[in-house]
């Protein structure tokens, strides 16, 4: 009784899917779990953004630079949900080339604007207002996601969306072009996608065991290559350290994961 009510509240299409083995009700549990995951991530993001922006405001360049990449990890892990609010996504995470006037654009704000100041201009000077805005936007995001009903197709589709992020901006090293900390985002996107696959694993496995094995294998390949570049402090080397051979070796599994995970919604009978 409660479950079917929940299913309706979540907007699950109850039409019998061609992939009939799963009931839409089976998705309720994983979606609730995913909301907890996102909520935890955003709480962590707010906390870390607080520390990061505080460092910027007090003029502590070294600390601000050190906190920059780790702070972004929580955002990158749950990016498909954050992107549901595209005004905030643009304010928090847009890049220079999303703006016609580049770094000079008035509306270029958020992490990458600060990244430019910290890593290219090597300064925190004059960044106070941008730091304040970033923190306010992150808190706004947290509040909005709190009140959000998670659309199942967005949750399941998030795995593919994260792989598209990796394929479009991480493999080329375009995301963190000033700090070259792309591997933090790379790993975070992968972890975020893997989390979704893990949550729906029983339902997917019921449909297609071979698919699950193939996806796992490609995740493992990516993880193995990324692990080579982990540093002792739990972070990552800069992207320019990644060998040409490893960059190439990442392309295949990343593109294959993007292709395979693009079928996930359909496999779970979601519209």
């Amino acid at each position: 009784m409660k479950r079917s009510f929940l299913a309706a509240a979540l907007g699950l299409a109850l039409a019998t899917p061609a992939f009939a083995a799963n009931s839409p009700l089976d998705l309720v549990g994983p979606i609730s779990d995913y909301k907890i995951y996102v909520t935890d991530n955003l709480a962590k993001l707010t906390e870390q953004t607080q520390a990061f922006t505080a460092a910027v405001k007090r003029g502590d360049l070294a600390t601000a630079r050190r906190l920059y990449a780790p702070t972004r990890v929580s955002y990158e892990q749950v990016e498909p949900i954050a992107e549901l609010f595209s005004d905030l996504d643009a304010a928090i995470d847009s890049r220079e080339d999303d703006h016609e006037q580049g770094v000079k654009s008035e509306d270029f704000t958020g992490f990458h604007r600060l990244e430019h100041a910290l890593f290219t201009q090597n300064t925190t000077e004059g960044q106070g207002p941008l730091a304040d805005k970033l923190l306010a936007d992150v808190k706004d995001l947290q509040a909005r996601v709190d009140g959000l009903t998670f659309p199942p197709e967005k949750v399941v589709g998030g795995a593919a969306a994260l792989m598209e992020e990796v394929a479009a901006t991480k493999v080329s090293g375009e995301e963190e072009r000033y700090s070259h900390t792309d591997l933090y985002d790379f790993q975070a996107n992968i972890d975020g996608a893997k989390k979704i696959v893990d949550l729906f694993r029983p339902q997917i496995a019921k449909q297609d065991q071979a698919f699950v094995a193939k996806v796992d294998k490609n995740f493992a390949t990516v993880d193995k290559i990324l692990a080579k570049y982990k540093t002792k402090d739990g972070g990552f080397e800069t992207y320019d350290k990644v060998s040409e051979r490893d960059r190439k070796a990442l392309v295949g599994p990343v593109n294959t994961l993007a292709e395979d995970l693009s079928t996930l919604r359909g496999k779970l009978g979601l519209n």
């Binding site: 609010f85 005004d87 643009a90 890049r95 999303d98 901006t169 070796a249 359909g266």
Partner: protein, 430 residues
């Protein structure tokens, strides 16, 4: 951050969609909605241009791959790839899948439908039934495929090598070389793009694009009763006038196809060396050059394509009676490229070029030129020897080769159960 529509909050998008909804209601009465009314006058502008050639088909099976002596259609594209296969089995899977997809794309037919909740199997840009449109996809392999990854080094074609820059080259690393090269040719560029997207979708774990260059040749209505003319390049000259006759099988065996017993590995017989060059043309400067100078640089009349002495495009220039270059300068492009001596017969190549246009360069000049593609049985005696003779030619002031590579075209297959590249893998397994 999404790459697309970065500055558009969802709210705006919704507003836009709402607006479109209202607009489509308003326009339905005007005939935009085909279910309700077909108003030819509004649809005409966006109607697909007509072609009677979408069903033209080239054979896939044959001793040689198609797309080499096959008459060149209007649209061409070269795509070079890094092979991502990790071992010989993966490489075999790559070749088998390529073979299977190319057969389908060249043959055409309906695309299988899948549950609409899944991504469609096909990009759909040619519609639900793929039309062959004269498509050929020619598969060749680069020198780097024969490195330590797949254990193929012992069976590498003898002359297959990494392209090195000639004196006038300014090679850009991101448009050179490749493990594998595909030449796409079709009546329209859309057919080539469709084929490429099909291959990428089917081979995400095995192929990564390294570089790609599209090109075209101008379509002509041949003048009645006159011999066919060669297409013009972006310098306005006919290109390919002295090309050997691709319908002459004996000539092709001598010039284009590797022959058994030629010293090449046995599997390579009926393959061919492919030289690809992306040659930028400085067209603004060229257009500011006097006509007589242009003609002297090429060694042909610009309007007719005839030799400097006049006549027809197909007339053979008589260099023997012009030893000092008074008619055709000794350093004219065509005279250096093909001096028409008994010795230079060994250096003949089959050219199959396309013109390319890529937008505008930083300096505001047009980024365009020639996608040069040539086939020969002997790379050293063919393209490399010809290019060496051209080094220092006056034309260099107007051209700059920036990319390309040398590849070896796999032999064709005649048995429908065989696949392209099997003989290469089999030779390496001996």
């Amino acid at each position: 951050m999404k790459k697309s529509a970065p500055d558009q909050p969802n709210i705006d998008r919704r507003r836009l969609l709402g607006g479109l909804g209202a607009a489509s209601v308003a326009l339905a009465g005007a005939g935009l909605c085909p279910m309700h009314a077909r108003a030819a006058s509004t649809a005409e502008v966006t109607r697909a241009p007509g072609s009677a050639n979408t069903h033209q088909r080239q054979a896939f099976l044959g001793q040689h791959q198609s797309g080499i002596v096959t008459p060149r259609p209007a649209a061409g594209m070269i795509v070079a790839f890094d092979v991502l296969a990790s071992d010989r089995d993966d490489l075999e899977r790559l070749l088998r899948t390529l073979d299977e997809r190319i057969r389908f794309l060249m043959q055409g037919g309906p695309v299988p439908e899948v549950d609409p909740r899944l991504p469609p199997l096909d990009s759909g840009i040619l519609g639900p039934v793929v039309t062959p449109d004269n498509l050929t996809i020619t598969v060749s392999v680069g020198e780097s495929l024969f490195d330590d990854r797949f254990g193929l080094s012992a069976v590498k074609p003898r002359q297959l090598q990494r392209m090195t820059g000639f004196p006038n080259d300014a090679l850009e690393a991101d448009c050179c070389h490749g493990d594998l090269c595909l030449q796409f040719c079709a009546n329209t560029p859309d057919t080539n793009i469709h084929a490429l997207r099909d291959l990428l979708k089917n081979l995400p774990d095995l192929l990564a694009i390294r570089w790609k260059q599209e090109g075209s040749v101008p379509v002509q209505d041949p003048p009645p009763g006159q011999p066919a003319e060669s297409a013009r390049n972006f310098l306005g000259f006919r290109d390919g006038s002295a090309n050997p006759d691709s319908t002459d099988a004996q000539a092709m065996d001598r010039i284009v196809w590797v022959q058994p017993g030629s010293g090449e590995p046995a599997w390579a017989a009926q393959g061919s060396y492919q030289a690809v060059r992306i040659i930028r043309n400085f067209v603004e400067r060229w257009d500011r050059t006097p006509l007589q100078e242009q003609e002297a640089i090429f060694g042909r009349r610009k309007a007719s394509g005839a030799p400097m002495a006049g006549g027809h495009e197909t007339d053979v220039p008589d260099y023997a009676s012009d030893p000092k270059g008074k008619v055709t300068p000794l350093d004219a492009h065509i005279r250096l490229a093909n001096p028409r001596t008994p010795e230079s017969q060994r250096n003949l190549i089959l050219r199959r070029p396309f013109n390319y246009s890529n937008g505008v360069r930083k300096n505001g000049q047009l980024d365009m030129g020639l996608l040069f593609i040539a086939y020969q049985a002997d790379l050293e005696q063919g393209f490399i020897a010809v290019q060496k003779r051209l080094d220092g030619e006056p034309l260099e002031e107007y051209i700059k080769p920036i990319g390309g590579g040398y590849f070896f075209v796999l032999p064709g297959i005649t048995d429908a159960k065989d696949y392209l590249g099997r003989s290469l893998l089999a030779a390496a397994s001996l």
